[in-house]
């Protein structure tokens, strides 16, 4: 059996998005900036895509700026927020230690440029607390950036409350909603979001396209200089087929959000319940407030890359935050930030589901993972040490 269970890394393109993109690649080849009919046709399609994205975010079309990816939107929003603050003498930023590298590395670069960053604690469930944010906000705070939902452990942050608090204190609020978009309801008005990043490829749209929502009245400056595209804020001829594909996928995901959420979270809960039966395993992230498809575990006594590759050999595509998979010596910064010791974080497994997964696939995963975990444990000296003064669950 083949099971793709790495939807937090990227998703398969939906048939709807594929059809829309194929048509756009073939027919809508005009440059939206051109005045002739082919240009106007492209310009109409671009406007239509922008209206779609805005509609499902509760935003105005004029507040949407298409970008090259989610990473670009994150870089742009944070750099702008920091710079705008610095112009008023505000050089303090607030974030979390579990952000995606698109955010974290931007913040680290800003720290080198003299900004100060407060990283809010996220506790063992990977969720920030409002009282910590309230205490962290200072008169010189320029920007708060907190991700909507985490890409490794699925924890969902209290975004509307964070937004409301930021607005009460007069601080700009950005959220990286790359993992949330298309899966969780977003309403930038009701949720008090000033800037929001999303990416096409996490909800069955294409890769290499994203957007930044920026609330009207915020005088955002261009990040990429050049032509007058995106009302002069983001230069470069628009990747129209990708933008059209993203809009088609986003409409589809948002229209079916509740039905998908119900289906996918049922699969997730079955998988979590089954994997929890593996001895010395633990679910990572918040048990309740988590992305509908996110199943993230640590298994003691084994290492994640071996687990991943053995599962791949069994036809299951998954992911891990172990050091070996990150190519560094440390396991994932997210798992360390929620307080897991290195040796446990090395044994992490992430299975991220979507509405294309089936119950048969979940059953297959539940058949394979316990076996692979056991095989690896039976060759692990760490497991052997652990079992020296405990009852070995694998002793027949």
């Amino acid at each position: 059996m083949f099971v793709y269970a790495d939807n937090a890394a990227t998703t398969a393109l939906s048939e709807t998005a594929l059809a829309a993109m194929t048509a756009a690649l073939r027919d809508t080849y005009g440059n939206p900036s051109s005045l002739h009919r082919k240009g106007q046709e492209a310009s109409d399609a671009l406007r239509h895509a922008r209206e779609t994205m805005a509609h499902y975010l509760g935003a105005q079309p004029s507040e949407i700026y298409f970008t090259g990816c989610g990473t670009e939107a994150d870089n742009w929003a944070i750099r702008y927020g920091a710079k705008a603050g610095a112009a008023k003498g505000k050089r303090h930023l607030i974030s979390t230690p579990i952000e995606h590298h698109a955010v974290l590395h931007t913040l680290q670069a800003l720290e080198k440029e003299g900004f100060e960053v407060t990283y809010l604690p996220v506790y063992d469930n990977g969720v920030v607390r409002l009282e910590d944010l309230e205490k962290a906000i200072r008169p010189d705070t320029a920007l708060v950036t907190v991700m909507y939902a985490n890409n490794e452990i699925g924890s969902i942050q209290p975004i509307p409350e964070i937004g409301a608090l930021c607005h009460e204190k007069g601080v700009l609020f950005h959220t990286d909603a790359v993992q949330a978009a298309g899966h969780l309801p977003i309403d930038v008005q009701a949720q008090h979001i000033d800037m929001l990043s999303l990416s096409g490829h996490k909800f069955h749209g294409p890769k290499g396209v994203g957007l930044l929502y920026c609330r009207k009245g915020i005088p955002i400056k261009p990040f990429i200089e050049g032509g007058a595209q995106e009302r002069g804020k983001r230069a470069g001829t628009e990747a129209l087929p990708s933008i059209i594909g993203m809009a088609a996928a986003f409409r589809e995901s948002c229209e079916h959000m509740e039905e998908n959420r119900r289906k996918v979270s049922a699969l997730r809960d079955k998988l979590i319940a089954g994997l929890s039966r593996i001895p010395y395993s633990r679910l990572t992230g918040d048990p309740v407030n988590r992305l509908p498809g996110m199943v993230s575990f640590c298994f003691e006594g084994i290492e994640g890359e071996s687990l991943l590759l053995r599962l791949d050999m069994a036809g299951i595509c998954a992911s891990s935050g172990s050091a070996c998979t990150s190519g560094s010596l440390d396991p994932s910064h997210v798992l360390l930030a929620i307080g897991l010791p290195h040796e446990i974080a090395h044994g992490s497994l992430r299975l991220s589901l979507c509405e294309y997964n089936t119950e048969e696939q979940v059953d297959y995963i539940l058949e394979q993972v316990p076996q692979v975990v056991r095989t690896l444990r039976e060759m692990s000296p760490v497991w052997a040490h652990m079992m020296e003064n405990r009852e070995n669950p694998y002793k027949d």
Partner: protein, 150 residues
């Protein structure tokens, strides 16, 4: 990830040789650190200066398991003197190469065998000067040993 590994590595990872424990081993060596994600433990059965049997237990990535498997293959049935001369380079070559970031796993395999041999000599009451790598024994082995650096 898998794409970076040679077929040999994947073969030894999928079906590792010499996995297990030797209860009455003549020498046992353990190197690495769970904090860093790799631990190897080697067991040797030695008779008349020949390594009659060897087993390993490894906690680590695919290359850690594959290098343990290959290293144990390379010394099984060999005289102790030959085993002492086993280099991580020889293990890497026998596996048709390792990705650069994984070369430290082969160093760990070499060190695990040396640690087991040192333990064997100690039990025999024989003086030895098997070089130890303090990092491999105690700390993080995320490094290549100078001499072996390509």
């Amino acid at each position: 990830m898998a794409m970076d590994y040679s077929e040999k590595v994947m073969e030894h990872f999928a079906h590792p040789h010499n996995v297990g424990v030797i209860e009455d081993a003549d020498g046992v060596g353990e190197v690495g650190n769970a904090k860093c994600g790799d631990i190897m433990k080697m067991y040797l059965k030695i008779k008349d200066g020949i390594i009659e049997d060897v087993k390993f237990q490894t906690f680590g990535c695919a290359s850690a398991i594959a290098t343990s498997s290959m290293a144990t293959d390379l010394i099984k049935g060999k005289p102790v003197e030959d085993a002492l001369k086993l280099t991580n380079q020889a293990v890497v070559e026998a596996l048709d190469g390792l990705p650069a970031v994984k070369v430290h796993c082969s160093v760990l395999a070499e060190q695990a065998i040396k640690a087991a041999l040192a333990d064997y000599y100690k039990r025999q009451g024989i003086e030895n000067d098997i070089s130890k790598c303090a990092d491999c024994e105690n700390g993080c082995c995320g490094h290549d040993h100078g001499a072996e650096e390509a």
